[in-house]
């Protein structure tokens, strides 16, 4: 399909094949992206998001395996925050716009403040990488919120508490496996406590849907 494209001759050979962009480095990706069809761009971004989510679902403690996550992107956190805010907003009877706004601000403002806090305490953390990791690790809480929304009538309060509790522990553990290597050794507890508070805050809203 690129044969008819005015700028495409010579850049691509034949049909679009599925290239594993998640494993290419930043420079290779930059060169090729201008002329490709929109579907390729979307598929590539979605692939990258899913790839990163797989790291969240199976937290890996070894730092070398997390190196691929250094290519930060903010699409994933944006989608997850919108999904969470909408899920929690749909279910409340009143003031759904307040809930949407509150969740959104807590998530983005909270990630920014936690990152600045870690930096000021002497950690070696890059701002956007940290915001990216904290955003992606909200995924288990998202899953819990969606599950509780759709299966509401089957769940009593204690079952909800257990589901949300599991999601909270999963999120926290997952983000710690990336963040703790970047924190200052002596001040680990006070660097990590805000992350714990952040996920606790977001999980709390899920219990009360």
């Amino acid at each position: 399909m690129t044969d008819n494209h005015p700028f495409g001759s010579g850049m691509f050979q034949g049909q679009a094949k599925f290239v594993d962009y998640a494993h290419m480095n930043q420079q290779e990706v930059q060169v090729n992206t201008l002329d490709e069809p929109v579907l390729d761009t979307l598929l590539r971004d979605i692939n990258m998001i899913l790839y990163k989510l797989s790291y969240v679902i199976i937290p890996r403690m070894k730092e070398t395996q997390g190196r691929k996550l250094r290519n930060w992107d903010l699409w994933g956190p944006l989608l997850l925050s919108l999904l969470l805010a909408m899920t929690l907003g749909i279910n409340s009877n009143q003031s759904s716009d307040t809930i949407f706004g509150t969740i959104f601000i807590i998530m983005w403002g909270g990630s920014a403040v936690i990152t600045v806090n870690a930096k000021l305490l002497g950690g070696q953390v890059s701002f956007f990488q940290s915001v990216c990791v904290l955003g992606y690790c909200v995924f288990p809480i998202n899953v819990a919120a969606v599950v509780i929304t759709f299966l509401q009538s089957y769940f009593g309060f204690f079952l909800r508490l257990i589901i949300v509790g599991v999601a909270f522990l999963w999120s926290t553990f997952s983000s710690l496996s990336f963040m703790s290597s970047m924190m200052n050794e002596e001040k680990k507890v006070i660097s990590v406590y805000p992350i714990f508070l952040f996920y606790m805050f977001l999980s709390w809203f899920c219990i009360f849907i």
């Binding site: 806090n117 001040k187 507890v189 006070i190 406590y193 508070l197 805050f201």
Partner: protein
């Protein structure tokens, strides 16, 4: 700006006209470890001991004020929602407490030191701004156990807790500012003590009336 002269002399990275807009400006105020923070919180619960002032002496921190207030915002949201939940058996869930409590707590814990610093500088005393912010931030820590205990839905108990909190935090603040107040004249001292007490009173009153109003069983709310 001569308001911050002592701080600028101690920390060279704070020089410059708009230095307070950079992140590095606040670096010196995060030199604490978890043991320090826990000691300072413990010292704030016992206002008549002189521990806090010795511990903080040359090293005020901003971690405490920031995250103690954040914890209290979370606890207020949690406990106020639990209170509403138990009552009707259903969850009428109010998210409004988050922006309200954030505004209340952060205005008191950061706004009052600004007012006090301005007033004290005009009255001619040398007050350290970040030291006052640190003092105010840790004075909020008594609200943590009070909020948890306010799960009990008895109006009388809640007023007692709030009253105790007000007395404890006010005495903590006044003891913390003892040295600075000692340098002032009698009449000016009363102004400052008056400002401190008025702000604490309004904080605790609003805290009780906004977040923990007890709904009468007969009302249709």
């Amino acid at each position: 700006m001569e308001f911050f002269q002592e701080e600028e002399e101690e920390h060279p990275e704070q020089k410059g006209c708009c230095a307070f807009l950079t992140v590095q400006y606040y670096q010196p105020y995060f030199n604490v470890s978890e043991d320090d923070v826990i000691d300072r919180i413990k010292a704030s619960f016992l206002p008549f001991r002189k521990d806090f002032h010795e511990r903080v002496a040359g090293n005020p921190d901003l971690w405490g004020p920031l995250w103690i207030s954040a914890t209290i915002i979370f606890l207020i949201t949690a406990v106020a929602n639990i209170n509403q939940m138990n009552f009707e058996g259903q969850t009428t869930y109010s998210v409004d407490y988050v922006p309200q409590s954030a505004a209340l707590l952060y205005c008191i814990s950061f706004g009052t030191p600004v007012i006090l610093t301005i007033v004290m500088k005009i009255l001619g005393s040398d007050i350290r701004f970040f030291h006052t912010v640190c003092l105010y931030g840790y004075s909020m820590s008594i609200l943590m156990p009070i909020t948890i205990l306010c799960v009990l839905r008895n109006s009388y108990v809640q007023w007692c807790l709030v009253g105790y909190g007000m007395i404890s935090s006010s005495s903590f603040l006044i003891m913390g500012m003892r040295k600075i107040l000692g340098d002032l004249e009698q009449a000016k001292r009363y102004i400052i003590v008056g400002i401190v007490l008025a702000m604490q009173f309004s904080l605790y009153l609003l805290y009780k009336l906004v977040f923990f109003k007890v709904i009468e069983k007969n009302s249709t709310e």
